[in-house]
């Protein structure tokens, strides 16, 4: 089991001189622990045969796991021992990437935007690619939104999906019952999500940080239960369908227009193709994501953004400087919630159908993983992590292990590279002009 090998990762500086005995002993202890861990859960499997519950065994797996832990620890010990002086724990692979990204941040950003803008016209692009890119951008938006809360303000929100859900459902409900168009209902969805953020945040934000984490976790569950059971409003497990699609300045994307409206392809004299709508949705999310990016980058350079970061660093010092921590946290929470709401509205309009299944804790965990892996507070890191996290399950053999890998990665990143893959904090204001440090 590769997972087992990951589990047994040690964290202790080894003696500088090579002590083979100690090394082997260390590895043997690791292997012994792995054996105890593996025997019950790996060695046996509970199966149901003809309604009868029994056990099957797979002791070879246990053997493989134990041996790989032994070898792994030994190798790790050797590797550590062989580079005693400059014990740089950050990944040798990631550091240059991070340095490159830092030095050429603007260039990389523009290249990325340019690539995203012409993605549709590239020769290898298929409908599937555009769909994937749309999904990535949705997660990028969510990641940037959560980044305000976790990365900048340092508030651990484990129920971010709640705001995503509030956005999606308030969009779906206002759009289907009041016949509002996407562009009209979008701000409403954002506002309602922000409101939900304030309602939740107001009582709990004055508490200690870890209580906030569990309360948000609970809130995510409450919203999920409400979606499932408040059938008259949310449609219960059946969800809400027939959610209107966005149009372009009143032009609709459909084979034939409803009375009184014009379709996109008629207006431009094109042939109808369903991919037009998909392409259009892609541009909508790209535009939304860019707006979110601009908005958050800008906020970071304003007093409010600096207060967020200051609060993350030291709440007590903030109070001594006359900053009201509750208000500052509330603003971060509300803005994060609003951005989640926008993403939710986009999700609803893209799918045309939403149900509680899309808004579970797994989703919250995924978004959090994007922020954490990307490097808390780093916009570019979020993009990178969102790409990894969406594309990883595309490799069929990895799809099953997706959450397992996310979980393990969150632990390992905290241990080895707590700043995330791309960790670099750019100052929000410089005294000595634009000299790059």
């Amino acid at each position: 089991m590769t997972a087992e090998a990951g589990v047994a990762a040690p964290h202790r500086a080894l003696p500088k001189s090579f002590a083979w005995g100690a090394l082997v002993k260390d590895a043997a202890i690791g292997a012994a622990v792995a054996l105890v861990l593996a025997v019950p859960l790996v060695g046996f499997r509970v199966v149901e045969i003809n309604g009868d519950v029994t056990l099957t065994t797979r002791f070879t797996w246990v053997g493989i796991g134990v041996v790989s832990v032994f070898v792994g620890r030994l190798a790790l010990g050797l590797w550590r021992g062989s580079r005693p002086a400059e014990r740089k724990r950050s990944g040798a692979l990631v550091a240059p990437l991070s340095r490159f990204g830092r030095r050429h941040a603007t260039g990389v950003a523009w290249a990325g935007i340019g690539f995203a803008a012409i993605l549709q016209f590239l020769p290898f692009t298929t409908r599937g690619t555009v769909d994937l890119a749309t999904e990535i951008l949705t997660y990028v938006m969510l990641g940037w939104g959560l980044n305000v809360v976790v990365g900048l303000a340092g508030l651990l929100d484990l129920g971010y999906v709640a705001f995503y859900a509030v956005g999606a459902y308030s969009f779906a409900i206002t759009a289907t019952t009041f016949g509002l168009s996407f562009w009209e209902a979008l701000p409403i969805a954002g506002l309602l999500s922000a409101l939900a953020g304030i309602l939740l945040g107001f009582p709990v934000l004055r508490l200690r940080g870890d209580y906030l984490a569990i309360v948000t976790l609970g809130f995510g569950e409450i919203i999920h239960i409400l979606l499932q059971n408040w059938t008259s409003l949310t449609g219960g497990p059946n969800g809400i369908g027939n959610i209107p699609r966005p149009g372009l300045f009143g032009l609709v994307f459909a084979a034939s227009a409803p009375p009184g409206e014009t379709t996109f392809h008629q207006f431009f004299g094109l042939d109808f193709s369903p991919s037009q709508r998909i392409d259009f949705l892609y541009y909508v999310v790209l535009a939304l994501a860019l707006i979110v990016n601009l908005f958050t980058l800008r906020l970071r350079r304003l007093p409010i953004g600096r207060a967020w970061e200051a609060l993350r660093e030291d709440e007590i010092a903030c109070r001594a400087l006359g900053i009201n921590p509750t208000n500052v946290k509330l603003s971060a929470f509300a803005i994060g919630a609003m951005l989640g709401g926008f993403a939710g509205a986009f999700f609803a309009t893209r799918q045309g159908f939403i149900s509680p299944e899309s808004f579970t804790f797994v989703e919250s965990a995924t978004i959090l993983a994007i922020v954490v892996l990307g490097g808390m507070g780093s916009q570019m890191g979020v993009v990178l992590a969102a790409m990894v996290l969406v594309l990883l399950p595309e490799l069929r053999f990895l799809a099953e292990y997706r959450m397992l890998i996310f979980g393990a990665a969150m632990v390992l990143i905290m241990i080895w590279r707590p700043g995330g893959l791309l960790s670099h904090r750019a100052p929000t204001i410089l005294l000595h002009g634009a000299r790059r440090p």
Binding site: A3, V7, A8, A9, H11, V33, V36, L37, V39, P40, L41, V42, F44, R45, V46, V47, E48, V53, T54, L55, V150, G154, L156, L158, P203, V204, L207, R208, G209, D210, Y211, A213, I214, V215, L217, G218, F219, E221, I222, I225, L226, Q228, N229, I316, F361, A365, A369, V372, M376, Y401, M403, L404, F406, G407, A408, M410, V411, M414, I415, P418
Partner: protein, 303 residues
């Protein structure tokens, strides 16, 4: 009346289980000041190890029920304890001096990992176990009889014994003293010769042992488990710990009982669908109006 009595009996049994899990949260929070999000998963692993142990004993031909119960209890405690130990060693110890959010994020990562680890290894489907302990006492007859099953008695008895045992450990042994010393000031305790690492490890082990017992009981009580049970039970048990006053063992137990009762009564009289919502509402209300819980000391932050 009888209906109420029955709900109370059920609520107390459930509450005992929550209380056992809550002790793990409260002890870890007391000693290193963090929510061990993976604790619910440890409890889930305890339930799985118990199930596997029951089945293995069945295969081995152990049919005398008290012996089987005892063996399963011991097996579950041992294996789960190693999981508890490993979680601390791998995911928390390296982060003790890291920034504030790091251990929390690592904990949530660990929780996700363990959940999926069990799901992948044992499958996502609900696992069922045939009833092991059957029968009970009828307390009241009538059109609505009130029954206390032997299982419920077993649960309460074990919980009581464990509570008494661990209260003694905390109050009167060197380990308990070391624990309280580390709780107060880890640096100072280390200077005075307390092995901080070992004390913290043991705290996790004790928490895991109690969670294993809770896991075994929930397996016996409901007869079905799946890889997801740790999530909800974890939040409920944490709520119990907060309700009782974080850091207080008696508080955790009492909080567990209250949460069990709230859940049983709410499902009995109001709506089953919203019973979990109720627990969260309790959590939020407690945090707003009495963040130090029933037995906790109000926290004065050191500036």
């Amino acid at each position: 009346m009888n209906y109420l009595l029955q709900q109370l009996v059920n609520g107390v049994s459930l509450g005992a289980i929550y209380g056992l899990i809550a002790i793990g949260y409260t002890m870890v929070y007391g000693i290193i000041g963090m929510i061990n999000f993976a604790h619910g998963e440890i409890y889930m692993i305890g339930a799985f190890v118990s199930l596997i142990a029951f089945l293995a004993l069945g295969v081995a031909g152990v049919t005398y029920v008290p012996l089987a119960l005892l063996l399963v209890l011991v097996i579950a405690m041992i294996f789960t304890a190693v999981y508890g130990w490993a979680v601390e060693r791998i995911a928390y110890r390296p982060l003790r001096s890291s920034f504030r959010l790091a251990p929390l994020i690592s904990a949530i990562g660990m929780s996700i990992f363990l959940q999926n680890y069990v799901q992948l290894l044992q499958g996502a489907r609900v696992k069922a176990l045939q009833p092991v302990v059957e029968g009970g006492i009828t307390l009241a007859t009538g059109d609505f009889p009130v029954r206390v099953s032997f299982l419920q008695i077993f649960i309460l008895a074990i919980t009581f014994v464990l509570m008494a045992g661990f209260s003694y450990v905390i109050a009167a042994t060197p380990l308990g003293r070391a624990q309280r010393a580390v709780e107060q000031d880890a640096t100072m305790a280390a200077l005075l010769g307390v092995d901080v690492d070992r004390t913290i490890s043991l705290t996790f082990v004790i928490g895991a042992v109690l969670a294993a017992v809770a896991g075994m009981m929930v397996l016996l009580y409901y007869g079905v488990i799946d890889f997801y049970i740790g999530f909800e039970a974890g939040i409920k048990a944490f709520t119990a710990a907060v309700l009782g006053g974080i850091g207080s063992l008696a508080g955790a137990m009492l909080g567990g009982l209250l949460i069990g009762l709230i859940e049983a009564l709410w499902s009995g009289y109001a709506s089953v669908e919203y019973k979990d919502v109720m627990v969260f509402v309790v959590l939020i209300l407690v945090l707003i109006f009495r963040p130090s819980g029933l037995f906790g000391r109000p926290e004065v932050e050191k500036v």
